[in-house]
């Protein structure tokens, strides 16, 4: 399994994402934002960071990067895509996922270990988890508040497209405690907290984030 990890100018979690891909049993392939080349990968990860300085809106400029045109096209054909944190923001700005991520309700940049519940384990990125499984992984962002209109929220809830929710107090004002969602087809996933920073206990709060990177192997087994 070849999993591409995109680097935009200002991306900072690409190394950890690539390391997590390898720990999960796949080959990590570096992709550059300015190259219109997906290098024959089977899946793509958009890592966290501050792509293009978060200028204008988080993810707003990355959406138009040459590599993103190919990601949008491949996602339309069913390729698994995972956007973490800034990557989630890029997926929303690209309209691959509905809604938008706005400033945390208390205006603080949050950096802490956060408990989340995996609600939907039927996506290519969450199949290693049990439905209802609770994991602790880092949450670190300033614009993590998931917002959408009532109709979209009802669709997400009704179609089981919320893949993860925050447990306990709402950290950032996200509607319905949403930490991650998927598209209607189920191949594109956006997640605010960072599983790639929790793949071993030496460097993370747990190894419970690894499941996102082992899940992708199940796609090949099917």
């Amino acid at each position: 399994m070849r999993v591409g990890v995109i680097t935009f100018p200002g991306t900072l979690d690409d190394r950890d994402a690539a390391r997590a891909v390898v720990a999960g049993g796949s080959e990590a392939v570096s992709l550059w934002h300015a190259d219109a080349d997906l290098k024959n990968v089977d899946a793509v990860i958009l890592p966290g960071g501050f792509s293009y300085g978060d200028y204008l809106r988080c993810g707003a400029i990355s959406r138009f990067a040459p590599v993103m045109q190919l990601v949008i096209e491949a996602a339309g054909k069913g390729m698994p895509v995972l956007g973490i944190c800034n990557g989630f923001q890029v997926l929303c700005e690209s309209h691959l996922l509905p809604g938008a991520l706005t400033r945390n309700s208390d205006l603080h940049f949050l950096c802490r270990d956060q408990e989340i519940e995996i609600v939907n384990n039927s996506t290519p990125w969450t199949s290693s988890y049990k439905a209802g499984e609770k994991i602790v992984i880092p949450l670190k962002n300033g614009e993590g508040s998931f917002q959408c209109d009532d109709k979209t929220l009802a669709e997400l809830e009704g179609e089981g497209r919320i893949i993860a929710r925050y447990v306990g107090q709402n950290p950032n004002g996200s509607r319905n405690l949403i930490a991650g969602i998927t598209n209607a087809r189920g191949n594109v996933v956006g997640l605010m907290p960072h599983p790639e920073h929790a793949i071993d206990e030496l460097t993370g709060p747990s190894a419970q984030g690894l499941g996102f990177f082992t899940s992708i192997l199940n796609v090949m087994v099917k």
Partner: protein, 81 residues
């Protein structure tokens, strides 16, 4: 040279934590006039000469695809005299 202004504001139903922070800072400084505050973005775009209808249409398009996110924001385009 003409200046075209694009104002981008969060939609009324979207929470604006920055505007709220400003609203709560005002009374601490003795300003008591504000019932609420909303914070937005203003873009100033210069074009050579008077803007043509085609240029204004292009700016409308740019405001929709890049300057604003229609999921959470509204925009207004106007020519400043």
């Amino acid at each position: 040279m003409a200046k075209i202004v694009v104002d981008v504001m969060l939609k009324p139903e979207i929470l604006d934590p920055q505007g709220n922070a400003v609203a709560s800072a005002l009374p601490r400084l003795g300003f008591s006039f504000a019932k609420s505050v909303r914070q937005g973005k203003r873009f100033e775009i210069e074009v050579e000469g008077e803007p043509t209808a085609a240029q204004l249409a292009e700016i409308e398009k740019a405001a929709e695809v890049l300057l604003s996110n229609p999921v959470i924001e509204n925009y207004v385009v106007r020519v400043e005299k």
